[in-house]
Amino acid sequence: MKSKALPYLLLLPATVFLLVFFVYPFIQIAWLSVSGPGGFSLQPFTTMATHWKFQTALGWTLLLAAVVVPIQLVMALSMASIVTRLQQGRNTFLYIFTIPLGLSDLAAGIIWLAIFEQSGYLNSMLHGLGIIDQPILFLGYQNIWVIFIAIVLAEVWRATAIMMVILVSGMGLIPKEFYEAGEVFGANAWQRFVKITLPLLRPSLQSALILRTLAALEVFAVVTALGGTTLPVLMGETFQWQFTLQDRNVASAYAMVILAISILATFFFLRVLRVPKGATI
């Protein structure tokens, strides 16, 4: 009897905690986004959608995710392949490659600010090479695409490591015999990568892509550090509505939009990278 109740007792604290602080707030946020002073109202969504910044914020957020995630996928795959091939100094390089894993997005934004700001290293380098006389204001509103590139660089720099770690542990699960068989049949390194590594890496690719895409849709501090509010994104607008404009309902409506896109993205990757039943290693 006692041992039947034990697992439930052990799960109880975490379950109660998640119900109170995860499930309940989500119900609340959904309610806040469709309520006004007098009960149910679509006003928050109308206010949000008709505000001039909504479409630009949505557009920039989607564009950032669409640019950042594929770059990261390619980089993470290359880094993971390199790591699995390393024989000498594997631990050292693994540590170096994973350093950004522990860094916050705000710190990453500040780090790339040091490079892109007016008296920063990019300007200093261009000056040293004799290309420019006066420092250029890279991060001003006239140069919105430079801000965009700086954000992409900072995001790629910071968050590729997490993808790499997931892919490295996925690659570790692929049996060596598969590669040996591939070699026997004359497949070169690239063919083995495409025909063996990629298909068998599907579960890891799936979780890496979901994790990163959701995080990319939540991009906030990097953008604030590099561009202020010049380049609006959804999470930044949520913050603005909550704080500067003091309207919780519209902020919640923004949150629901981010949530909806996240769910769509998750389903997309679950479907596209579906692992056939019984095909796991």
Partner: protein
């Protein structure tokens, strides 16, 4: 790439060219990771005048003016202390709640197991910092607003899926036979756990605790939404971003980066075990 030549020996030059390319890639990626951090540290170790000067040199001025300014700036020390305190609370909460759940998942088969797993996996599919918005209301009602414990609760929601999945994989790695042996030798369930299992998983638990600490230490959005007086360092920095001088930003960035570097170094052995299993 180089081992493609196993069965059909290629000319030596082609092989060493491949090796050269491989190592060039390794060095290039390392530089891509390390140089930006180095530049931040150069800025931090230069005087405020050197930070805003143009053109800038690539070596530190070895002046502690920026650091002094940062440390004596109103609210910084308190923000550092708040960050530390919230992160410690998060660490305790997420392991305290997550580890028993991980143990239950690894040792028992019971109805409802899958429901709980779904709940945990679901938390990873939602933009969690957004929880801060409704919780702000709840906290004001319960008096938890603007407190370390309130923020630590939100950070624990972020950290708990990892704590559960990591401890689950750790406990799964300990054979049940070890525990059973202890039971036959007269230990009860708790004694067997404390004397046999706990010593074996303790390093891994520490690693996942450090991971929870890092999650909290780095979190910006919820911290900025939920705190006003008791700001953590990231919240303090993002609130003052457009009014603070460059050298303050850089010193603040370094203050966030350096502990993170140490943490990742401390848990590097567990990173792959953690993520490898957390995936499945």
């Amino acid at each position: 790439m180089t081992d493609a030549a196993l069965d059909k020996p290629r000319p030596v030059e082609a092989r060493s060219a491949g090796r050269f390319l491989f190592w060039a890639a390794v060095v290039l990626i390392s530089a891509w990771v390390l140089v930006p951090i180095y530049l931040l540290l150069v800025n931090t170790l230069s005087s405020p005048q050197q930070v805003t000067a143009f053109p800038k040199s690539g070596v530190p001025g070895w002046d502690f003016g920026s650091i002094q300014f940062f440390m004596s700036f109103a609210g910084v020390l308190r923000a550092l202390w708040n960050s530390l305190f919230v992160a410690l609370l998060t660490m305790i909460l997420s392991i305290g709640l997550g580890a028993p759940a991980g143990y239950a998942l690894s040792r028992f088969d019971f109805p409802g197991k899958e429901v709980f797993r779904m709940l945990v996996v679901m938390t990873r599919a939602f933009p969690l910092p957004l929880l801060a918005l409704p919780l702000a209301v709840l906290f004001i009602r319960t008096g938890l607003d603007d407190t370390a414990i309130g923020l630590a609760i939100v950070h624990t929601v972020l950290a708990i899926p990892f704590a559960v999945l990591i401890t689950f994989s750790l406990f799964s790695g300990i054979p049940l036979e070890l525990e059973e042996a202890a039971w036959t030798l007269g230990c009860n369930r708790w004694q067997a756990f404390r004397k046999v299992v706990l010593p074996l998983v303790l390093p891994g638990i520490t690693a996942s605790a450090v991971f929870a600490f890092t999650i909290s230490w780095n979190e910006v959005f919820a911290a900025a939404v939920l705190t006003i007086e008791n700001r953590t360092l990231p919240a303090f920095l993002i609130q003052n971003l457009n009014v603070s001088p460059l050298h303050l930003k850089f010193a603040g960035g370094a203050a966030m980066v350096i502990p993170a570097l140490i943490f990742i170094f401390a848990v590097r052995r567990y990173l792959f075990a953690m993520w490898g299993i957390a995936n499945r």
